[in-house]
């Protein structure tokens, strides 16, 4: 069933939320409020939102180093996220994880990851657990085009296919792995085509079209829930900003970012909604206001929150450890 008006508007607001969170986070990083090595997903919002819109709240997501958008799209609370990015004590990981190593188990977000493609081999295990518990859930694992050249991608897809596990592999192909162009690192060119080798569906699509992403994910999720096994989706998109904050981007010209802005997934959905009479300027402004208020609330919360006590560095290591270390 195609998404109804409410769901379409939710996707619109969802993409806007990811975009504005990322833009705000970049600003806060530039102002020295947020530490760490920051990777944002500005321009890639349709993938996170289109995928997560096709999931149930109890489905799982495994994410990447560029993972804020996945968490926001999965429904993660902005307060917990923002406080974590600030390294505050009441961040969702109590300041231990930060931008690249955060998780929010309450919404099935099983972790951003500092190690590329790590999620590709965790996913089959999550799938195994789902199958064993007969819970009808699915797990999505996101990874970049660059990460698809690591062994765990191949091992994970093979295992999930071999054991018919409810996994959806989602490759966000933004044409670059840091400074290395997709074409200069990837034999055969297509990630989606690799699915054929493992006997599962592989689909290459326009990752700036949130509806296309939603549709393909909905199909893959349905197949997974039916018990027919994994699928691979390759969503082509464009990262508008540097690989990390502070990246001089000497490796690419302005044209690509301009192309990204021309194919802006948010503007594109807005146009579609306007044509169908579901959105007008006033309504769009209202949605934006609401999202901005949510974000500013999270920022104010993070600003006001305490830093962790230094010796809290020693907590959380084991569930139970009464021994002297």
């Amino acid at each position: 069933m195609p998404p109804g008006p409410d769901q379409l508007l939710q996707m619109y607001a969802g993409m806007l939320r990811v975009r504005l969170v990322e833009e705000r986070v970049r600003e806060l990083f530039a102002n020295g409020r947020i530490p760490g090595f920051l990777h944002t997903s500005v321009g890639q919002e349709a993938v996170a939102v289109g995928v997560c819109a096709a999931l149930r709240p109890d489905d799982y997501v495994l994410s990447t180093h560029r993972g804020h958008g996945h968490l926001v799209a999965k429904g993660g609370a902005l307060r917990g996220l923002m406080a974590e990015l600030y390294g505050k004590a009441n961040g969702v990981c109590h300041g231990k994880g930060g931008t690249m190593h955060l998780a929010d188990a309450s919404v099935g977000y099983l972790g951003a990851n500092g190690v590329l493609a790590a999620g590709c081999v965790l996913a089959p295990g999550v799938g195994l657990s789902i199958k064993h518990r007969k819970s009808g859930q699915v797990v999505v694992t996101f990874f970049g085009d660059g990460a698809a050249n690591r062994g765990p991608f191949h091992e994970g897809v093979n295992l999930a296919a071999l054991w018919t596990l409810p996994v959806v592999f989602v490759c966000e192909n933004n044409r670059w792995a840091s400074s290395t162009a997709h074409a200069l690192s990837t034999a055969g060119g297509s990630i989606a085509a690799r699915a054929a080798g493992y006997g599962i569906p592989g689909e290459s699509l326009d990752g700036n079209d949130v509806l296309a992403v939603w549709e393909a994910t909905a199909r893959a999720v349905e197949r997974a829930r039916r018990g027919d096994g994994p699928s691979l989706i390759e969503a082509h998109t464009i990262r508008w900003v540097g690989h990390f904050e502070g990246d001089g981007q000497a490796y690419r010209g302005k044209a690509e970012v301009e192309e990204g802005r021309r194919t802006d997934p948010i503007a594109r959905l807005a146009r579609g909604l306007e044509e169908r009479g579901l959105l007008d300027a006033a309504h769009a402004a209202l949605i934006r206001e609401g999202v901005v208020a949510e974000i500013e609330d999270a920022v104010a919360h993070a600003e006001a929150s305490p830093l962790p006590a230094p010796h809290d560095a020693l907590t959380d290591l084991f569930a139970y450890y009464p021994w002297r270390d």
Binding site: F37, G87, K96, A147, A177, S179, T180, S185, A313
Partner: protein
């Protein structure tokens, strides 16, 4: 002597060795542009794409192929990007590279260098901050060096590249922009030669990489109280210059060992045993240690600060050793 920073000194070493020996090539992720720490910057202009290879994100293949090339006549220098990701090529390092000469009865040279940017700082978090040198001294068949100054970095990397065996060079990422004098003339630092970075008669501090600098700072502070600290930098952990360490300990009779990684099963634990074995009768106090706590590296600055050993910790350990 010209001043160079640590990163540029490594860059110089690569250039010198690549000029000297056409078999030397560099491989790693994003090294054409010199990412992530600038060490390989500009090499592409002088040596071209045949000798400066940007690899896909495929650590096992990067390290494994380097071994394949090394055992058949080339001399690879692998940039591990962040040493944390060596886990993704651990079989290649631990089972293949480390063991080939031994298992095959000494038939084959494996002249391979692994450059390991590592260490804590700037809220890198759990997957981008680890001091993993201890893992590798536990693998027979690998040589391990760990420079603290630009001159040592250049000299050790050159030696590593010329060595017929696999050598890991640990480059603390907090040191890349530290400057120091580097000899104009091509100068090698042999493996297994420790260096006394500061002479003193009261306490020996054995420290590696960033902790050498923290220990020198501690020594300056303690000197104001009349405590003279000798700072000894082993520079390579495998092989280890036991004689220089022992000579210093015989002079001072008191020892502190400082490193950045976690306390348990670490390089400091090994060095403590080496010192004790050589100098048991000379010691006037138990060996004191400075190291990180046994936890992963947290993100938030106050947490990260808590697990980062500094000059303060060295000062405290020296006082303990003086008790």
């Amino acid at each position: 002597m010209p001043l160079l920073d640590f990163g540029d000194a490594l860059n110089l070493a690569l250039r010198e060795e690549m000029r000297r020996d056409p078999r030397v090539y560099c491989i790693g992720e994003d090294i054409v542009l010199g990412l992530p720490f600038g060490v390989t910057k500009g090499l592409i202009d002088e040596f071209g794409a045949d000798r400066v290879l940007n690899a896909p994100i495929s650590e096992a293949a990067i390290v494994g192929s380097a071994m394949g090339a090394a055992v058949t006549g080339l001399v690879p220098v692998v940039d591990m990007h962040f040493a944390d990701f060596v886990t993704c090529a651990m079989d290649e390092v631990a089972n293949q590279i480390a063991k080939s000469r031994y298992m095959f009865g000494g038939q084959i040279d494996c002249p391979l260098t692994l450059r390991m940017p590592y260490g804590i700082g700037k809220s890198g978090g759990g997957h981008h901050s680890n001091s993993v040198e201890a893992w590798f001294i536990n693998i027979p068949g690998l040589k391990v060096c760990i420079p603290s100054t630009p001159a040592d970095a250049r000299g050790l990397l050159k030696t590593a590249i010329r060595d017929p065996d696999p050598v890991l060079v640990f480059e603390h990422r907090g040191l890349y922009r530290v400057t120091g004098e580097v000899p104009e003339a091509e100068t090698l630092v042999p493996l297994g030669s420790a260096d006394v970075k500061r002479a003193g008669g009261d306490v020996t501090v054995i420290a590696t990489a960033r902790m050498v600098h923290e220990s020198l700072e501690a020594a300056r502070r303690l000197a104001e109280e009349g405590i003279e600290v000798e700072v000894v930098d082993p520079r390579s952990l495998v092989p280890l210059d036991r004689d220089t360490l022992a000579a210093s300990v015989r002079k001072t009779s008191r020892v502190v060992i400082a490193e950045e990684g976690p306390m348990r099963g670490s390089t400091g634990a090994w060095l403590a045993w080496v010192v004790m074995e050589a100098c048991f009768d000379d010691l006037d106090a138990p060996i004191a240690r400075v190291a990180g706590p046994n936890v992963p590296i947290p993100f938030s600055p106050p947490l990260e600060g808590f697990v980062t050993p500094t000059a303060n910790d060295v000062v405290a350990a020296v006082r303990q050793a003086l008790k």
